[in-house]
């Protein structure tokens, strides 16, 4: 009885530790891109990743052969989307300061799609299903975000309609 209680926990802890050792770097980078924080000052990204990893840990025994990296990334993305939505919906009065990171000029949704599609290499269909958006919309947002990232508008407060993306 005692053995049955202890060994799954120990096995889970061992496997989870190996998973975190391998995946945390890339996931933290993705989370930091999402929150648009500076790489050396990213409390929001750390918290987001810790919560997502905790979720994966809690459901480790019920993965049923699913990739834990995929599951963590999914949870991270949906949680970020939810937080961004709440922030945007309720937090307009808080003053929208421009985030410091490299993707600071983009909206949270643009960052999310850009990171999922290009940094993580998630297929358009999967990203669309994950976020509950049509595939065309994901492609449009991804193109717009890429254009904004490569050619940041001169005025940060007023993103201009991208003339360069129209040439594709």
């Amino acid at each position: 009885m005692r053995d049955r209680q202890v060994s799954p926990g120990a096995r889970r802890a061992r496997e989870f530790q190996a998973f975190v050792a391998g995946a945390a770097g890339r996931l933290l980078h993705a989370a930091t891109l999402l929150t648009a924080e500076a790489p050396d000052d990213n409390p929001r990204a750390r918290r987001l990743l810790a919560v997502s990893l905790a979720h994966t840990y809690a459901y480790w025994d019920q993965l049923h052969g699913d990739d834990p990296y995929d599951r963590t990334r999914q949870y991270l993305a949906t949680r970020f989307a939810r937080e961004a939505w709440h922030r945007h919906g309720g937090g307009l009065g808080r003053g929208r300061r421009r985030p410091a990171g490299r993707l600071g000029g983009l909206t949270p949704q643009e960052r999310l799609i850009l990171v999922l599609r290009l940094y993580e290499g998630v297929a358009e269909e999967q990203a669309a299903a994950l976020l509950g958006l049509p595939v065309e919309r994901v492609r449009t947002i991804c193109d717009r975000a890429t254009a904004t990232l490569l050619h940041p508008p001169a005025e940060p407060s007023r993103p201009v309609a991208e003339p360069k993306a129209a040439t594709s």
Partner: protein
């Protein structure tokens, strides 16, 4: 620039300067995840206790009330004294 080139350039920008993983991340995740696991175990245990209590209560009620026994009729008055006819 065509689309693959633009995407590759965006990817390169995003790959720059990866953040350092804080050493306490693993312990933090295990602590939070363990809390979720414990809470789930507690909820499951509570549900089992409630289920057991319901079963016991129903059994006791059934054994005392015996709802399957036909109740004595109350509509017909008892016939008495018919031998005198």
């Amino acid at each position: 620039m065509n689309r693959p080139q633009r995407e590759a350039a965006a990817r390169r920008i995003m790959e720059q300067s990866p953040p350092r993983v804080p050493p306490e991340l693993y312990a933090d995740a295990v602590r939070r995840g363990g809390r979720v696991l414990r809470r789930r175990t507690a909820v499951r245990r509570l549900l089992w206790v409630v289920l057991a209590a319901v079963v016991v209560a129903f059994t006791v009620w059934a054994l005392t009330v015996r709802p399957w026994v036909e109740p004595p009729s109350e509509t017909t008055p008892p016939v008495t004294g018919w031998e005198g006819w």
